[in-house]
Symmetry: C2
Subunit: 683 residues, 2 copies
Amino acid sequence: MDRKLLTLIMMALPVAAAAQTGVVAVHPANNEGRMLTMEEAVLGRNTRPDNVYASWIDDDTYVCRIDGKWMSTDFATGKSSEYSPERINVSIPRDAAGIERSSAGTFAYTRGNSLFINDGTETCVACSEDSQIVYGQSVSRDEFGISGGIFWSPDGSRLAFYRKDNSRVTDFPLLDITTRTGSLKSIKYPMNGMESEEIRLGIYDLAAKTTVWCDVNDFGYDRYLTNISWTPEGKYIIIQVLDRTQKHMKMNMYRADNGGFVRTVLTEDNARYVEPLDPVWFLKGTYSFIYRTNNRDGYRNLYLCDTLGNVRRLTAVDADVAYAGNDGKTVFYTSAEMSPVENHLFKVSVTAKGRRMPDGNAASFKFGTPVRLTSEEGWHNVSLSKDCKKFIDSFSSFNVPQVTNLKTTGGKLIRNLSIASDPLVQFKTGKVVLGTVKSADGRYDNWYRMFFPADFDASRKYPVILYVYGGPHSQMVQDSWLGQVRMWEMLMAQKGYIVYVQDNRGTQNRGAEYEMAIHRQCGQLEMADQMVGIEMLKSLPFVDAGRIGVHGWSYGGFMTISLMTNYPETFKTGVAGGPVIDWKWYEVMYGERYMDTEATNPEGFARTSLIGKAKDLKGKLLICQGAIDNTVVWEHSLSFVQKCIEEGVQLDYFPYPRSEHNVMGVWRTHLMDKVTEYFDDNL
Amino acid sequence: MDRKLLTLIMMALPVAAAAQTGVVAVHPANNEGRMLTMEEAVLGRNTRPDNVYASWIDDDTYVCRIDGKWMSTDFATGKSSEYSPERINVSIPRDAAGIERSSAGTFAYTRGNSLFINDGTETCVACSEDSQIVYGQSVSRDEFGISGGIFWSPDGSRLAFYRKDNSRVTDFPLLDITTRTGSLKSIKYPMNGMESEEIRLGIYDLAAKTTVWCDVNDFGYDRYLTNISWTPEGKYIIIQVLDRTQKHMKMNMYRADNGGFVRTVLTEDNARYVEPLDPVWFLKGTYSFIYRTNNRDGYRNLYLCDTLGNVRRLTAVDADVAYAGNDGKTVFYTSAEMSPVENHLFKVSVTAKGRRMPDGNAASFKFGTPVRLTSEEGWHNVSLSKDCKKFIDSFSSFNVPQVTNLKTTGGKLIRNLSIASDPLVQFKTGKVVLGTVKSADGRYDNWYRMFFPADFDASRKYPVILYVYGGPHSQMVQDSWLGQVRMWEMLMAQKGYIVYVQDNRGTQNRGAEYEMAIHRQCGQLEMADQMVGIEMLKSLPFVDAGRIGVHGWSYGGFMTISLMTNYPETFKTGVAGGPVIDWKWYEVMYGERYMDTEATNPEGFARTSLIGKAKDLKGKLLICQGAIDNTVVWEHSLSFVQKCIEEGVQLDYFPYPRSEHNVMGVWRTHLMDKVTEYFDDNL
């Protein structure tokens, strides 16, 4: 749930870019850069909508397909026009989704629950005649880094794909009010501790027109098949197989021609959880690969491995890193090693010898000293060219809205592409402060950003709003412009509130122990850490300790209600959006990772559940939720409301009838008005 | 929807009876009376819950069955104890519902969708093997006076029963949050203009063990079969058959032995609607019957009829009357002829000659002059003994909380049973006023009651709350104690509001023209009439015209939002419960009677729909609704909320997650607190 939300928040950066995106494309011929429009950028993102396919088709033209219509965009002008499908020689039906193009030019996509390929003629590769069986779509509710279900082999001769059997998964009913008579829209929702999906991986041979199935025999039917990788020559497939408890992972290799099991390359085990998030990345021209895990050295580091199971640590830093690319000789990665709130690009030279597969000699690895490629303080988003010779470095820091440069990976500036001016220059804004407080256990610095009213007068007393998320895989505070400002915080500061945002244990970029400390007790350490910040605020002479509010969505909605009911004397007013109320109603994949199950962790579920806390609610609380939320289902907030009714506790509620987990577009304007009004009226 | 709500409101009268019911039972042996407990009274009511059967089994013992358990209550003490089923010689399964006992002692009831009889041995009379087919249950969503689906013949030798085919009716999905995983609870909801139920009437012969079906050939499949009556000797059944448009009714007679059509006894036609509400009542010992309609003389009067179609008006008053009983020589009825806000018992002597059936001579009718049997001003609820020699007269009037007398139908007082003291004597209450204003067209007096704050000071300005219902079959103001006071009105008056309640065109007890004037334009004349009252209030020097609020539920919720959006400058604050938003989403039976269909009345639907009015909302509006409302389905209020979101209009909302159309029990306390708080905070 979180990453989607977080994406949204981060997309709003920098605030300048009402009509811009912060995404720059560079023309390969002349290195000219241009800021993409929001539409172009969205189309080009990895997070593209299901029904969109986008690609450069030649050096000047970017083609995208949206809602069944092909559009081409001329790079120089940014002008879009309808595109004749003959040029790509394939007519793809309007309802095609998840479109992937092989290196040989064949398209694969799903229609309904079936999987098709199309090289001019459409062929059904896996035809579902049962509504419970789904081919070629994403599985495991997009956890474990999964975002699709179609995996072309490197040469395009084979197509691997997921098969999901939903027969055992509960239906959760949603109400569709857009039909003449309100109608049922059921979703499949595997709920904590309940029966889950059964996943298989098929491999279709385009020449033979046959499908084989990977012979996975570990962990029973509701294991997870995650992070599918092809070996470079296309003879093998690597699957990171995870058991239902998420405590054991086997990286297994299978033959592409018959699905046969070859060997377990390596394993990971953890009494809390193992969370594979990435496929493996083969070093170009070799059979050695780079693998990322946080299960070996306390941080999410990169490792050089071979398919015989040799593993050697590549990034030896006490910081989380992320893979960025390789050209066979150099590996590029970004790292939090300068500071948890900064992100920098590094390169390290690598040699791996021993290439025979799968049973040849073990590889011998050598590598050099890492070299930092980004120098300016702050948060760098980088995009490497295919040949790894150039990269776009787009960065901002606390006082720098955004600078985008085109550079060589040798370290030279080719040219500056854009420098954003202060987008708030026309507004009367107050001071913004970046700082740290200790975690409740005293072991860590937790970063915060704090917004002051424009005409701040230290002799007055100001109300405070804590904006909170706090869940795994988030990082609310970075050393990017004004600490990752959101316009709503600016607005509230303008209206006379001090707004405070702080990270806590459980969030990302701080290593495994910090991240996993919340295991089996979601919310508890997060609250303790947030309360350190609140106590700091209360100690400030200009803070009105009687007027502290809290607002958050999703995990942040859970945090909001947790804080209001655990610290009823502290928080006067809260707004919780799409809140988790009891982890037993949340999905299997995310929920069992952090909480295990109700059966194996009864105390943890009891302590974190907000149902038993309803009676402790004292302040004014507004809950907002999308009425067709398919992530945090409506059972959560309705059950909390029901409990409040039974306890005689008053609270407020507002549904967004056609919204899913997040309230989007113009509806979001309504939401933010409502939230703002609620604090104005009640804090 | 309305009558259910109204019942609730009226049950709360008099306010004295927190622990009492206002229902008195009289012992037949010694004429001693005793106030029944709420439980006894509910069990003994016609409005009994489905799963309850209650009856006197001898002169001293009252037996009831609730949730599968038999209980007996000793009349003298009111003590209940478990009752041995051997004494009634029949063991009825726990899941039996709609239990009816024949005069011969055989029980009939439904289990699931099937119909059973039981005289010691259970036999399935009509077994449903299709979830869409329902035997023996109520049909047509309890409209047209229908409240059950089992009709014993007078001697118990035959059993008539409804068969309802739901195949064509839309499913409406509700969310059940009481299950581990929120689950689907679908209801069958025939929506305005959409496909509806198909109803048949079967007649089961207990001796022959065969079923025949009444051969109804009028009006197509989705006609209504209403108000089933057996002729006294059990040879014929009379059905008031109504067409889908509800503009044409045929009172048809069928043979009980083979279901054959005998003749149409009489017909009713009306360009607006015909609404049969009562079975016919045969004069004891004759084949003549009493029939009630408002389609002949402008008021709901009684008529003497025979099965050959002779009809003679019995009650010749310009007022609505209601049948109360007959002993073959005298007909008893209550009537609004003294005043629309008073209810009195009358009797009239009757002779009807010509008894041969069905083709004998027409009856000749004679009758005398009506005699009024209740003398005191006010509203009399009466209950006749079986032999029509005695009646309980329970009345209250504006200044009389409640008096209950046992009287002879000769007009003599046998004894007083109870006199309620002023239940509000311990509270500091303000003045209550009963009065009238003109209807907007000047033709009628509309009654109101108005509550003043306790320490009313005419030199101050007070805010006003209009409590409104306004829909058909309701009457909010009667000449009963304090004009039909509700405790919430007293509470709000105590808190410093003037509370105003007024009837309007469309409501009951005022004749057909008054009632039907709203046809095809629900809400329009009702608003016009309410606004006459509001203008009167605004003209009062002690009314703060800038602080007028409005509150209502169901039709009253529709009225609340209609008033707030049509008169946005008048109403500052409103609370609408379970509101109809657009009549196209309301049920076929009630909705098509008053509005016709969207196809035949597009202008009426457009004008009355609140979707198009969302943009006009200016005041503070709170909508409350039961989240499993099966009467005004959630599509209504969610669609309005969605429209407000799209229009950028703010409003408030609160769901009662486990409540249906009304919020009951302790949940209702929460609701009334919420409503009260909303006015306190926003008016």
